[in-house]
Symmetry: C2
Subunit: 323 residues, 2 copies
Amino acid sequence: MPGLPLASVLAADLRTPSQGFSSMPLLVVGSVAFDSVQTPTDSRDNVLGGSAVYFSYAASYFTPVHLVGVVGRDWPAEHTALLRDRGIDTSGLEVVPTADTFRWRGKYLSNMNDRETLEVHLNVFGSFNPVLTDAQKHCPFVFLANGAPAVQHRVLDQVVGPKLVMADTMDLWIREQHDELMALFRRIDGLVLNDSEAKLLTGDENLVRAGHRICQMGPRFVVIKKGEHGAMFFADRETYVLPAFPTGVVVDPTGAGDSFAGGMMGYLAQRGDFSPQTLKEALAHGILVASFNVEDFSLERLKQIDQRDIQLRMEQYKRMLAF
Amino acid sequence: MPGLPLASVLAADLRTPSQGFSSMPLLVVGSVAFDSVQTPTDSRDNVLGGSAVYFSYAASYFTPVHLVGVVGRDWPAEHTALLRDRGIDTSGLEVVPTADTFRWRGKYLSNMNDRETLEVHLNVFGSFNPVLTDAQKHCPFVFLANGAPAVQHRVLDQVVGPKLVMADTMDLWIREQHDELMALFRRIDGLVLNDSEAKLLTGDENLVRAGHRICQMGPRFVVIKKGEHGAMFFADRETYVLPAFPTGVVVDPTGAGDSFAGGMMGYLAQRGDFSPQTLKEALAHGILVASFNVEDFSLERLKQIDQRDIQLRMEQYKRMLAF
């Protein structure tokens, strides 16, 4: 990528030529949850959710994924089986037998974009302290899903020579753990966050300026997620925006941001390079996986699709943008 | 365009081969105004504005434009000269010597998207009753800028065999003149409106569904303007969205929608065809002209650019969307 100091990354490639450039393992550390979701027209209670779940399922279409998270005594084995069936390594899913799994309850407003959190029970996630195995530590691609910056730092303290580290965050940490978050930004390659968070972080309502300001805080590149309006990419000398795939079927936006990040980073890990072209293709893949995700509750829609469906939609998407 | 019953239009082409396919005259009928604009950081009083002004200036980069509107005794000759200097035919600009020009005062909220109207003085525009000359009646491309549906109907009653008629509207008419608006939709080829108006008109918060529902109300195609998020296109068998050009310089969004429509329809009139490809190129040209327009108050930014600037930005835009 022009303007990005990726020389060290490229040097790492040269040191491990036998690894090749395809389908490198991807580690995600984040929440695993039961979600209860109300939309204007429907609802679901206690369905499978959590940032690491959406991310890993989305990424699994592209590359081997190692999931690290924590669940409680109420966790059914079939949820683990569902993830394993997609080839996700769930050996990092710690089961705490004395407490319950993280639960979130939320309600979407009529625009299906803004949402209200009705209940949060952190349960086992409140004391989540990820300890990585050797295999997890050596994953070349690492995603720090939304969580306390202190936990994200602890993961980074353990990983060994990653090729690419991306992180997500949220308004809570921007407001309440600002210093820890700023320190994190200096340790990661890419940051993904949504539009309202980018505005909050910079105090700038213009997303183009906000994106570049966040780049100056440390990350080599920044992706601003705009929900139904797509996503923007920022690096030192690059700015672009890609629209969302226009779907009339928006059933539940929960997990859209995480499945976007999973599709994007899964594609990068599959390709194993970070050229501007590959990054843009990755962004597009993230957008498309997210566009499937919102078409039903939980993982229901993603469970129905395979790589060929993503590829077909990609062809439609490319035609849409060509003129 | 697949699925659009444009046979009559194509037949009309065959009847007038000598007219050729390039730079056909474009008629716009709409408001001419003095705007007073407050943004979070700056303001301007009594600057040149109005839907027909923004539209015609934007379209003038592509095709000959005939402007029909009304102004009052307070109208300075230099505003007319400014439009004439871009080749716009201002002979349809009626000057009423006994009253004042339409005045609008508005204030943008910090997001530079939502705005509040502080004052409206319709003045001469309140009794605007456009009477077209023969040359104006025979313009093959017609744009009915935002105005009372009754006035838009009166324009359509006068035009003779137009090739393409597009119209804009607003929330006021959707709420208060619903039947007249519905009748108008059955007389036009294309409708442009913004996202909040599309939601109001259909009662549907999903813009993809809303766009197709509006197509079913009569227009052959519908364009939903999304401000900083670009624009969506809908026809019987087509749906696409193109993002806005990402600019960090958003000084004043006033006239963005009208300059978008002017760029789009100016390009269509220049090309003289309505193939899906040309329509998409036209949408992109509208997006780019609007992206210049918002970079300063009134027409200040457009006054600085020429066709080459639009072309250069188009190359950047196409690169941005290519992957």
